[in-house]
């Protein structure tokens, strides 16, 4: 293993600006989390631009109507108002105009309203609809932390304390980079073990590309606030992704009897072996035949793909929790990770055993593209990769945003099954660039 000197470097910034950023903001992560709450009215405490950008961003990424409201902070309110007035007026305007009653209002801040120092907590006293607030300045953290903070806030503010548990009840806490169908697959796996399973946030029934009569005024599908209130009697909470530990810990405060199991990701054989072993231990039953068959298929594909992947070099960019999963899966079949370029710093980066791991933008990443056979990155990398023909690397699109391909919400890289497909996809891509490229 080589020394992770680059991590040190990235903690102290090495240039004053970002050029072709891959990072997305905390408020965007919070907004996305609120889409996973049933009949939620996602309300961004901001000037209108932030909300409009966020809405367009997710509309194009998911190809779905996206519910999104904002408090339209103006030059007058920016200076004078403590926030209360514009928040209350917004809620009144929105609910009156649309004649609907959200089950919960998800309010979160932005750089502007944090700089003003608005009291988003206090305003809750004046709101009759159930209400959750999160502080998400966009000059701190990133999308991953915004999402995690929102999950934590929902538990902190809405889950009731318990001292008993329902033995079969389980809560999944998925990190932000998991696609709706990935959450669905993991829920199904737990249900196959006989668990009554919930996910928080749950995009698997809201942003899942399901053709229904969605109008996009409120979040559709997702976990209900009534269900969040009673999460305290879960026997088991499973956090996936290091960012989600804070949400699990918040739940343990509500009921210390809950058993917490954590996985940094659910990609590749090892992590899934651990996951399945944990579920077996708790339930004392065998996994379904299909799970066993998928493990076999994964092993088969690991063998089939190891020639290509094992002789190839990769650069991965994205949110930390996504990066570690992909890195470990690729390394399990011998792939060499040239560089991991992360959106933000997270302690999980210290665990990644790649040649270089650092926080940066696509300009920094580009330097490493020329040493790579395959780049795994978002849609922005496409142009940069081919801008000066230095690099012949292939590109597999993952992470936010992907405006290019359809069906992002249906991409599955998790569990034995998703890992199998992921390896096949990258191996096939490698064959294409190496042999025909």
């Amino acid at each position: 293993m080589e020394v992770n000197y680059a991590i040190e470097l990235s903690k102290h910034e090495h240039k004053p600006l970002q050029i072709n950023p891959i990072k997305h903001s905390q408020p965007m992560g919070a907004a996305l989390a609120f889409y996973g709450i049933r009949n939620c009215l996602p309300l961004m405490h901001a000037s209108q631009g932030c909300a409009s950008y966020t809405k367009v961003f997710f509309t194009r990424h998911f190809n779905e109507p996206i519910p999104m409201y904002n408090t339209s902070v103006s030059d007058i309110t920016a200076v004078l108002d403590g926030g209360d007035y514009s928040i209350l007026l917004s809620i009144e305007n929105i609910t009156k105009k649309n004649k609907f009653k959200p089950e919960i209002i998800g309010l979160h801040t932005t750089g502007l309203t944090e700089t003003k120092g608005d009291d988003v907590r206090g305003v809750g006293m004046h709101i009759e609809i159930p209400y959750c607030y999160v502080n998400t300045p966009d000059y701190e953290g990133g999308m991953e932390s915004g999402w995690a903070l929102t999950a934590k806030a929902l538990i902190d503010q809405h889950t009731r304390p318990y001292d008993q548990v329902r033995p079969n009840k389980l809560l999944l806490l998925p990190h932000v980079s998991m696609q709706p169908v990935e959450v669905e697959k993991i829920k199904e796996m737990c249900e196959n073990f006989g668990f009554e399973t919930y996910a928080l946030p749950d995009l698997s029934t809201s942003m899942d590309g399901f053709f229904g009569e969605q109008q996009g005024k409120l979040a559709q599908g997702g976990i209900g606030i009534d269900e969040i209130e009673v999460l305290g009697n879960c026997a088991t909470v499973v956090s996936i992704g290091s960012s989600m530990r804070i949400a699990a810990e918040a739940l343990l405060v509500k009921n210390p009897k809950i058993r917490h199991i954590h996985f940094d990701h659910l990609m590749g054989q090892d992590m899934n072996d651990n996951f399945v072993a944990s579920l077996m231990e708790i339930r004392q039953i065998e996994p379904s035949p299909s799970v066993k068959r998928w493990r076999g298929r994964l092993q088969d594909v690991m063998l089939d793909s190891h020639f290509l992947i094992g002789s190839s070099r990769f650069v991965i960019t994205g949110e930390p929790d996504m990066c570690i999963g992909m890195t470990e899966l690729i390394q399990s079949v011998g792939g060499t990770i040239e560089a991991v370029v992360s959106t933000v710093y997270s302690p999980v980066l210290e665990k990644i055993e790649a040649k270089k791991v650092f926080v940066g933008d696509l300009e920094d990443a580009k330097v490493h593209f020329k040493n790579a056979d395959l780049v795994i990155s978002n849609f922005h990398a496409e142009r940069i990769l081919h801008i000066d023909e230095q690099s012949h690397a292939g590109l597999v699109l993952r992470g936010f945003p992907n405006y290019e391909e359809l069906g992002n919400q249906l991409k599955n890289d998790q569990l034995y099954e998703g890992s199998t497909y992921f390896l096949l996809e990258i191996a096939n891509k490698l064959r294409e660039v190496k042999h025909h490229g």
């Binding site: 004053p16 600006l17 990072k23 209108q48 950008y53 339209s72 932005t110 750089g111 966009d138 405006y403």
Partner: protein, 458 residues
């Protein structure tokens, strides 16, 4: 610094037709808490200036402002140097910059950009947080400009001052103040014009520029589609300003009239009639008999060619009726294109349209045309009453079309091909043809087995 007097002035533009019916001081769009869904002033400013491919656009603010907005618009450029329109630059300020001020980060960023990218100019955009904490962007830009010898233009359009429209006006102000008139053109001709407000999205400009060229009209500079910083600096020597479909830059044109005595006209290049009309307006304004005659000659030639190519489509579309639900000037510009293709436009939306737009829509649709104020609830009824065959609207209306079993075109999604000029009309015709012929709308409205098969117990 955000200049309050200037903002007030821009919101009360006297040359703007809808200012007439407002009380003094009431002005344009003020976002209503909770209900405003459009972009912010920064968004508008960025859209207006971004097509300058030879300039770097540096967003001084936290992550949301640029992170969610770069590489989203297909503003094509023919610039042969490094194209900065496909890149994103942000200071991405952090907590420390909020507490201690971001001026140093900004100055360092400017130095970094000049060293690594050496652009013709840098536009520096203030945003909500950096405007609120009071970063002295003017000073930093001025010092940077002196140090590096290229224009570094502060753009004061933080999101909280207002909507997109205001932002693009503020962008116009920045260009007027810092760029226009700072350089002389190599030569001038009597037929020099500036194009204002066409951003060349999907190459719209390139659909009509060849025609102007044939007639002998020279585009001296553009604000800002396929524009160059060097040429906009010479814009004060043009003979005419031509605003393309953009109300927001009227102020810029009015001030250029006052300062440089350049007259201006407002035109649109959608559809056959509008394009021909626009070209006649331009040559008439330039007022040269020979040019006018030449324009007629070129137009006759082009129209004949176009008609021949449109013929099969017109036959195919005969008797078809369309409902149009889209915003602003598209309410009539796309309607005009549809009519040129022989489609009857039975209704259009006038939500978010200006008084001018509504007048135009009325004129285009005629006495029987329906102007929908609340299209979301009205369109479904209109489709039934008028027996429409296609709905052109934003993605959300897809379900209306499916329920009514009629064809659908999403006109609000970031479009991939241009509908501008004569060539663009053919693109629109192709899209319509595909929509009319596609069986998907009928297929997805079929019932599922669990909705039709009865499962009574044996």
């Amino acid at each position: 610094m955000v200049n309050r007097a200037k903002i007030k002035e821009l919101l009360n533009e006297s040359a703007c037709s809808h200012s007439k019916d407002k009380k003094p001081g009431e002005g344009c769009d003020k976002p209503k808490p909770g209900l405003a869904a459009g972009g912010c002033a920064f968004d508008g400013a960025q859209i207006s200036l971004f097509p300058y491919a030879d300039a770097v656009h540096l967003v001084h603010g936290p992550q949301t402002c640029l992170g969610a907005s770069w590489e989203t618009r297909e503003t094509l450029s023919s610039y042969e140097g490094r194209d900065h329109t496909v890149m994103g630059f942000t200071t991405g300020i952090r907590t420390n910059d909020v507490i201690f001020g971001g001026d140093k980060r900004l100055a360092d960023s400017i130095d970094f950009i000049m060293k690594e990218y050496a652009p013709e100019a840098i536009f520096v955009y203030s945003t909500c947080v950096t405007a609120l904490v009071g970063d002295d962007i003017d000073m930093t830009c001025k010092l940077g400009s002196e140090k590096h010898g290229v224009p570094i233009v502060p753009v004061h359009a933080p999101g909280f001052v207002g909507g997109k429209n205001l932002g693009s006006r503020l962008a116009g102000e920045a260009v007027l103040e810092h760029l226009i008139g700072t350089k002389e053109p190599e030569f001038t001709t009597p037929y020099d014009i500036n194009l204002i407000g066409d951003y060349n999205v999907t190459g719209d400009m390139w659909q009509y520029l060849p025609i102007l060229d044939k007639i002998g009209i020279r585009v001296l500079s553009s604000m800002s589609g396929d524009g160059r910083v060097g040429s906009i600096r010479t814009a004060h020597r043009a003979k005419l300003n031509v605003i393309v479909c953009a109300k927001s830059l009227i102020t810029l044109c009015r001030k250029m009239k006052e300062q440089y005595d350049i007259p201006w006209i407002s035109v649109s290049f959608y559809g056959k009639r509008d394009t021909a009309f626009a070209i006649r307006e331009i040559v008439n304004a330039l007022g040269d008999e020979k040019l006018i005659a030449k324009a007629e000659e070129v137009l006759a030639e082009e129209e004949e060619k176009l008609e021949a190519r449109l013929k099969p489509y017109k036959e195919m579309f005969a008797g078809k009726k369309a409902v149009l639900n889209t915003g602003g000037n598209k309410a009539w510009s796309i309607a005009s294109g549809l009519q040129d293709l022989g489609i009857e436009v039975v209704a259009t939306s006038i939500r978010k349209s200006t008084a001018d737009d509504i007048e135009k829509a009325k004129e285009y649709l005629g006495p029987d045309g329906i102007l929908m104020k609340a299209p979301a609830s009205e369109q479904s009824k209109v489709i039934d009453e008028k027996g429409a065959h296609i709905l052109l609207a934003g993605g959300r209306s897809l379900y209306t079309a499916i329920k009514k079993k009629i064809s659908f075109i999403d006109v609000n999604q970031e479009k991939k091909v241009s509908y501008g000029g004569f060539e663009g009309l053919l693109n629109l015709a192709e899209d319509l043809k595909s929509a009319f012929n596609n069986p998907v709308f009928a297929n997805v409205s079929k019932k599922a087995p669990w909705e039709t098969v009865s499962m009574e117990a044996e």
